[in-house]
Symmetry: C2
Subunit: 259 residues, 2 copies
């Protein structure tokens, strides 16, 4: 069987406002060869529909179904693992990606899952306490995290992301979150389920030595590093050994032919 491909977006297909040279041709080649593939990204600030629009603007013809984001992986996980209503603590921008699952009705206090995303200033004490109170009900709902990012850089300085709030609730309610975002193996596993493929058949291509390469390898998936995006030459000496390093996604067809 041919390999299935998991491909990161930012830094692999494009960088800032520019397409990586050769990326359009490489993706077209993969599509023409009918190689099973999924684009996987940790983006939770925009719905999948907007990601398709952005990629289209770059000239990529990529469908919604071939993109996996943490919200989509969360819906996938929820529909496979729980039956009932879910409470969402997520940015309004990605709420449309949860249309396929039953969401908590106003005023109810019992849910089967609590989903946490990066909602920044919307985290008040009472909002965090509301999530906590759900988690203390019996039977205990599942805690689902859209990634475990610690913080990010804004114009005003560093800002807490979703990870610290997941840690707070895990501790308060004595539970462990299902994490759907790279480098969590649960996120890679969701991708494999969608592609109906085994870890050993899959290859992840990314520019992040930790999130993409090490994360994939921990899930039993080959990790290929590209020298574009956030790649730094120091990544080579990081102690993490990519299964291959290619100059850019443009080199992927040749690499696949040889392997």
């Amino acid at each position: 069987m041919k390999h299935a491909l998991l491909i990161d977006l930012d830094g692999v297909l494009y960088q800032g406002a520019k397409v990586i040279p050769g990326a359009l041709e490489a993706i077209r080649w993969i599509q023409n060869q009918s190689i099973p593939h999924l684009f996987i990204t940790n983006t939770t600030s925009r719905p999948r529909r907007k990601i398709v629009e952005k990629l289209s603007g770059f000239g990529f013809d990529i469908s919604e179904q071939s993109i996996l984001t943490p919200p989509i992986a969360a819906c996938e996980w929820l529909s496979e693992n729980v039956t009932g209503e879910t409470a969402l603590f997520i940015p309004s921008s990605t709420r449309e990606d949860f249309n396929s699952i039953p969401i908590l009705k106003q005023g109810k206090i019992s849910v089967v899952a609590v989903v946490l995303g990066d909602i920044g200033e919307e985290w008040t004490f009472s909002e965090l306490n509301r999530a906590f109170t759900f988690l203390m009900e019996e039977p205990k709902p599942k805690l689902v995290a859209l990634g475990m990012t610690r913080y990010w850089q804004t114009a005003k300085g560093l800002q807490l992301d979703v990870g610290p709030f997941v840690k707070a609730l895990e501790y308060a309610a004595s539970c462990e979150a299902v994490v759907l975002g790279k480098p969590s193996a649960q996120f890679f596993n969701a991708a494999l389920r969608i592609l109906h493929c085994e870890p050993s058949q899959a290859v992840m291509i990314g520019d992040d030595i930790l999130g993409d390469v090490q994360g994939a390898q921990h899930a039993g998936i080959k990790g290929v590093l590209v020298r574009t995006g956030k790649f730094r030459s120091s990544d080579i000496d990081s102690g993490i050994h990519p299964d291959a390093i290619i100059d850019s996604i443009a080199g992927l067809p040749a690499w696949l032919d040889q392997n």
Copy 2:
């Protein structure tokens, strides 16, 4: 040398609005015998001065110096371990207990330590982010927690306590907090330093099989359980073995005479 005693307050000297029968006499006996002792409590909702007043109302003649609370232990730890200003995220009710250490001046961003207490509704995203931002400065300030309680029961329902916020910041800033509250060994160590005594010379008397008895034992201190306060007969089968079990603090003089 005689033993030094660490004595819990709530549930050991009094229960609700009532003194434990024989407690007044037992404490007077300890004081008359000049046995080194310290009353240690996890209370952070009132300053030490108010605890003395409350005990006095029950008929106990106990000085501020013989009471160790998390804020007092934090000051002790800070004055021994850091030099510079500290940022406080603590309830205003215990702010007076921090008079002995230098506190952050308005507008400064560099501190040697960040102290976290249970501030409930005062936790906004921006306040938590402010604590985080301090912790990301170099050299990295120490994170000091006034306990690690997960939550407490209020009239309106469960409410998050300080612990979850400590966990959030530990994860966000990749650090480990110094915890000054039972059952942390660091809190018991602060008590031993004040008494100038070794763990093997000390005995903790408390009604909490986990916080008092197991916590003390983990710090190398003998743990004596009283059958008052939050004691439940199921504590006996908890897998934790108190060094002794006495009916109440009233039995302490006799137990000390025999041991």
